[in-house]
């Protein structure tokens, strides 16, 4: 039984990418556009398509989370490692009718934190290469800091402490620093050996970001917050470099047909300090994919491309070969 059905990561990755770029980035840029009737109509259409894509992305994320819980139980023979995923799924659905408040919110945030920690431990304890473990571990750390940043106020509210929590801003900034550093590790793990074409293609979004930042820092800052949750408090060239390296890692992984490529796209689409539960689940699913990238879109490792077969086979236990 595969970690995920063969097509699910690809569909989810595509839907998440569109959800990220259409309603959360492009549609929000409407505020900077002149308000001619044609432009308003165009953006209303963007908005409608974006809403459908966002719902589709949420639907697929919940499906993937349910599958992840199911797979954890089937493969491990007990329900323990799938428990946080299943609980998160149920709570997320319950929150559609019951607002997340008090201890219910603390329970949800704790489960999310626990699920991220478990996924991070799975990456570190897997048969991946050291570079892949470092990259996955950093991604898990960034998600954990973000989840902690969002969990602490819920705990304060449940305990009715006056607050505000003293470490909140520090945690947020530390998490953003990890987000910026992480793409270097991702490139080291997944992007090495990328061809010149991939480097050039991956440079396009980084150059667009740099040009926008130079032309209009304020607009860039606002769009970055809306689109990714990043506040750009670090020097902007670092963000441009990170974007470039992340792009190379994504392209190289997708070229090899690895799930890691879709996982990286989901991490980017979910964003830092996500505002919706399904965006947080994207990060969680991405970690599960990073923990098991050797399956190439559901194919056995032996059918993986030659470029990837050697490390996969080396990583397998002797009895399995």
């Amino acid at each position: 039984m595969n970690v995920f059905p063969r097509d699910l990561p690809r569909w989810l990755g595509l839907a998440a990418l569109l959800d990220w770029l259409l309603p959360r980035t492009l549609a929000r840029s409407a505020i900077f556009m002149p308000k001619a009737p044609v432009v308003i109509g165009l953006y209303e259409a963007f908005g409608l398509v974006g809403q459908i894509v966002a719902t589709l992305s949420a639907l697929l994320a919940l499906t993937a989370l349910a599958w992840s819980a199911w797979h954890a139980w089937r493969s491990a023979g007990w329900f323990g490692s799938g428990l946080p995923a299943a609980s998160l799924l149920l709570l997320s659905l319950a929150f559609v009718v019951v607002p997340p408040a008090g201890w219910l919110a603390v329970t949800y945030q704790s489960l999310l934190l626990g699920a991220i920690a478990l996924a991070g431990l799975q990456i570190l304890g897997s048969g991946l290469s050291r570079d892949q473990k470092t990259a996955g571990g950093l991604a898990a750390l960034a998600l954990a800091l973000s989840a902690l940043y969002q969990a602490i106020p819920a705990l304060y509210a449940a305990l009715r402490w006056p607050g505000p929590p003293p470490l909140a801003a520090w945690l947020f900034d530390a998490g953003e620093l990890v987000v910026v550093v992480c793409p270097a590790a991702l490139w080291q793990a997944y992007g090495r050996g990328a061809g010149r074409g991939m480097w050039l293609l991956a440079a396009v979004p980084a150059l667009v970001f740099a040009a926008l930042r130079l032309a209009n820092p304020a607009l860039t800052g606002i769009l970055a917050i809306w689109s990714t949750g990043l506040t750009l408090y670090l020097p902007w060239p670092l963000y441009a470099l990170s974007l470039w390296l992340a792009g190379v890692a994504v392209l190289a992984s997708l070229r090899r047909g690895e799930w890691a490529g879709w996982a990286l796209l989901m991490l980017m689409a979910g964003g830092y300090a996500p505002q919706l539960s399904t965006q947080a689940f994207l990060g969680l699913i991405a970690l599960r994919l990073l923990a098991a990238p050797k399956a190439r879109a559901g194919l056995p490792a032996s059918e993986a491309p030659a470029v990837y077969r050697a490390p996969v086979e080396a990583a397998q236990p002797a009895g399995a070969r």
């Binding site: 299943a86 609980s87 149920l90 559609v96 997340p100 969002q150 009715r160 006056p162 539960s277």
Partner: protein, 358 residues
């Protein structure tokens, strides 16, 4: 065949997503920053920022940044964060906003002076419009507290307050003997004071509240609600380098241009603040992104205004049965749901398991 079934599956998913979107059934819940209003009984401390009752509400710290989308803008605004708390009763909501400000600026009489101010903003339509003044088709209700309006309530200041030696020969169309003591009532025709005659709140000789109740639907569309629609009360006090400002309003309002609240619901709100000493006014301000505002449901265990603040440990472990139910009920519910899911999964697994498998 396999390809066809994949296409079919994709179309079914797309149709399901479109249906859910059409009927506005959300699949995701918000997990961003949320200000949770604590339910209390009795009167809210609407003019007492030092009341112990405020400590019943958990504060959140909201980051602000300079408004840099439209002119006029000031890239280096001074208010970087505000701290917010909220309390509510069955009928009223009060929100207290605190922020550090070294200077106490509560006058706008001289052209070089600008006041300190803070504003709250609530969307009037579903969803979250643009966080700076809303957008076309996405109006927002704005509560704008102004330090000079607060000072006017205590003692109305005018040009001769700042310049006591000033002299005026005469103000036309008045019957007053002392030109410096001219009041609006002294004008022979109120239309000679057109701003006052047209109900402009800025020109009002008396102030019922330091908060202006406004509506906006994009840049340049900010409009004050009519004088009879001004239903937000407020109180602000500056001490030790910090402002503490309270907004208060009934949960419900009959006016279409007002946001209405209900216990147990989640709303969006955002903040803006101005430091007058830095020349901040109008669009030159610090703004926040949208944060959630959630009104906790009223319970019998709601805090009483005159009671001393309970210790944190007693608040964390309520002793009355209803409080216990409120705290542990959701946990039991979740545990039950998880057990049900686990049982279902086990049963399904037994059904799907190949028969030849030992």
């Amino acid at each position: 065949m396999h390809k066809r079934s994949r296409w079919l599956g994709g179309l079914i998913l797309l149709g399901l997503a479109a249906t859910l979107t059409f009927f506005r059934i959300p699949l995701a819940s918000s997990q961003g920053l949320t200000l949770r209003s604590a339910p209390v009984t009795g009167a809210l401390p609407v003019s007492d920022p030092g009341s112990a009752l405020w400590l019943e509400a958990t504060a959140i710290e909201v980051p602000l940044s300079a408004q840099n989308v439209t002119r006029p803008m000031l890239p280096d605004t001074r208010v970087k964060t505000v701290t917010a708390r909220a309390l509510h009763t069955d009928s009223q909501l009060a929100i207290m906003v605190e922020w550090a400000d070294e200077t106490h600026d509560d006058s706008m009489i001289r052209v070089q002076d600008f006041r300190d101010a803070v504003a709250l903003q609530f969307p009037l339509a579903a969803g979250q419009p643009f966080f700076c003044m809303g957008q076309q088709g996405g109006n927002v209700n704005i509560w704008h507290w102004k330090a000079d309006w607060q000072a006017d309530i205590a003692a109305r200041a005018d040009m001769n307050t700042l310049y006591p030696s000033m002299h005026v020969d005469q103000y036309p169309f008045t019957a007053a003997v002392d030109p410096l003591a001219v009041a609006p009532a002294d004008y022979v025709d109120p239309n000679y004071l057109p701003a006052l005659a047209s109900g402009n709140l800025f020109a009002s000789a008396t102030r019922a509240s330091p908060v202006e109740d406004l509506i906006a639907g994009g840049f340049g569309s900010l409009t004050a609600q009519a004088a009879e629609g001004q239903n937000v009360q407020g109180y602000g006090a500056w001490a030790d380098g910090a402002w503490r400002v309270i907004f208060a309003r009934d949960l419900t309002s009959s006016e279409a241009e007002d946001v209405t609240f209900a216990a147990g619901q989640v709303y969006s709100m955002s903040f803006a603040a101005w430091d007058g000493a830095n020349g901040e006014r109008n669009g030159q301000k610090s703004t926040s992104q949208w944060v959630g505002l959630q009104l906790g449901a009223q319970t019998d265990g709601a805090a009483q205004p005159d009671q001393p603040r309970p210790s944190q440990s007693s608040a964390a472990a309520p002793s009355d049965p209803l409080g216990m139910l409120y705290v542990f009920g959701p946990m039991v519910l979740v545990a039950g749901l998880i057990m049900a899911l686990a049982g279902g999964a086990l049963a399904l697994s037994a059904l799907l398991r190949p028969k030849d498998r030992p």
